[in-house]
Amino acid sequence: MSREISFAEALREAQDLCLSKYPEVFLMGLGVPDPKGIFGTTIDLQKKHGEHRVFDIPLSENAITGVALGAAITGMRPILTHQRVDFAVISMEQIVNQAAKWHYMFGGAMSAPMVIRMIIGRGWGQGPQHSQSLQAWFAHVPGLKVVMPTTARDAKGLLIASVEDNNPVVFLEHRWLYSIRDDVPPDYYTVPLGTAKVLREGADVTVVGISYMTLEALRAADSLAAQGISVEVIDLRTIQPWDTETVLHSVRKTGRLVVADTGWQSFGVAAEIEATTVENLFQSMKAPPRRVGLPDCPSPTSPALAAEFFPRSDRISSAVCELLGRRRAESPSRMDYEKLDVPDNTFKGPF
């Protein structure tokens, strides 16, 4: 039976199910029980499960991450939230030095099953310290897993799977995805970590999308189809470990790769995907790979600057055309964005 809910509601449902199913699960974060409920993802969970299992925290990101770790190594499964990934930077010591390594450095004696939900995003002048996208940092540290769902259906299944995973999982949610609706089964289900999904099949080029940029990739694919260019769009879904098999299989077929990431272009996730692809498929590729990401500078605040700074589907289309030696045509289906610092409300699910 089809039932549409939003990405935010799907995350809420995932946590609700986990809290009901597993007594070891608890949820904490700044503002978790407040009326806004972390962009709607934690609304009424404290009311339903009680304040011993769902609770607010002091403004102590670093120590609270250590508290989550201490609970995780002694039998609990905490979910910790940060309203911006930028706040989690304060807790990098506990994430990188302690949580990521706890299982390894004690010879496997303990494990640290914990999920840290962090919100990434852009828009409305969030600016340099409220719109970073740091998946590359976390993916670089052995011992962490990094998950970035795009669709509401995946968000629910991946969050449940992350809670069930016995490792520290960094779960990055793009705020421009929260209101996008999708067909989401109401019951308990998981989407395995480490699996990418082909959202659209194509023959000429593979575009790997990460989080919100997957939607822009689909928009670009639509626009390019009008030019007779056939784009295969892959939603990566998990960054670490990432699904090399699905991506390589696709690039073996198309011979061309573009990666669209939400983070800075240099030293990022796209670079890693391209390196692995070229290492494996160099001989059979028809063109060098291309990255679409943020320019290497802090996110500016003014809407005039942000409009130019944050990539949209047109930059993906340009990259594809470059690889094919084609000019990017103005597609009749291309929207003219009046205000580029708010989500494009023509992006509606389901996907």
């Binding site: 508290v67 770790l69 201490g70 002694t74 004690f106 099953p113």
Partner: protein
Amino acid sequence: MIASTAFEHYRHLLRIRMVEERIAELYPEQEMRCPVHLSIGQEAVAVGVCSALAATDWVLSGHRNHAHYLAKGGDLKRMLAEIYGKVTGCAKGKGGSMHLTDLEAGFLGATPIVGSTIPIAVGAALSARMRGEDRVVAVFFGDGACETGVFHESLNFAALKKLSVLFVCENNLYSVYSPLLVRQPGGRTISSLAEGHGLRALQGDGNDVDYVNRVSAEAAAHARDGKGPVFLEFQTYRWREHCGPNYDNEIGYRTPEEFERWRALDPVSTAEKRLLENRQATRERIDQAASEIRAEIEEAVRFAKSSPFPSAGGFADGVYA
């Protein structure tokens, strides 16, 4: 309970002292190839606190952890094997001296980033409460850790939630070579910082194992009764260099005179004197204990030296659970 009689306390002090001195003797052989931060001079804090805990209570520590590990009942063979980098070590050779663990003994873990295990201990106490388990969690750290942000954050949260945590500060006056007064303003005690956070706190003599044990037992009872965490600041002194087996009283950051003043307050010989004066043990019994301990240490060293290293490629195991 690890120890309850005066003799048992003394034996634990002696054992730790002899283990650490043996490590110092063997270290120049260059077969213990990781940094070691010896507990010599600070044994009474470890023994006094851990003897006040139940076997089911938990302990976490930092880089200077050998005394805490042993006082809580950690396995000596697995500790030495770990320092020797062998696969039979308590962390299978992955961690070395700075990352000991012994879950059976309730010694959850030690990591060397100063202050980092403090919130982890708080989380362990929260976890125990959530599961309805009666546990006190003691976390050991030094004066330097009290300058970190995470220290203050942890105290605040533990007080807020009234968690059963003993925050045990071994104030040995130095952070590597930096004396206390270049790092913290004079005219205040570290324990007063904890009071400021709303914890019951005290400051006292860390070299008197009876005193440490008595106040720790009271603190553990207070915490266990749900009355909130307790902060214990124990004044003590590190005899050897910060990291390594040698003495370094001549290099200028502290004086030989200061060292001698503290050596006269040796927690081990103080406890021994008291035992004999109070006729709680005879010279013979003490000597016999030393001889047993010597044999135990030699057996553990033999075990460590003859154990195999982890196998080739083993470094890649265990990144993920």
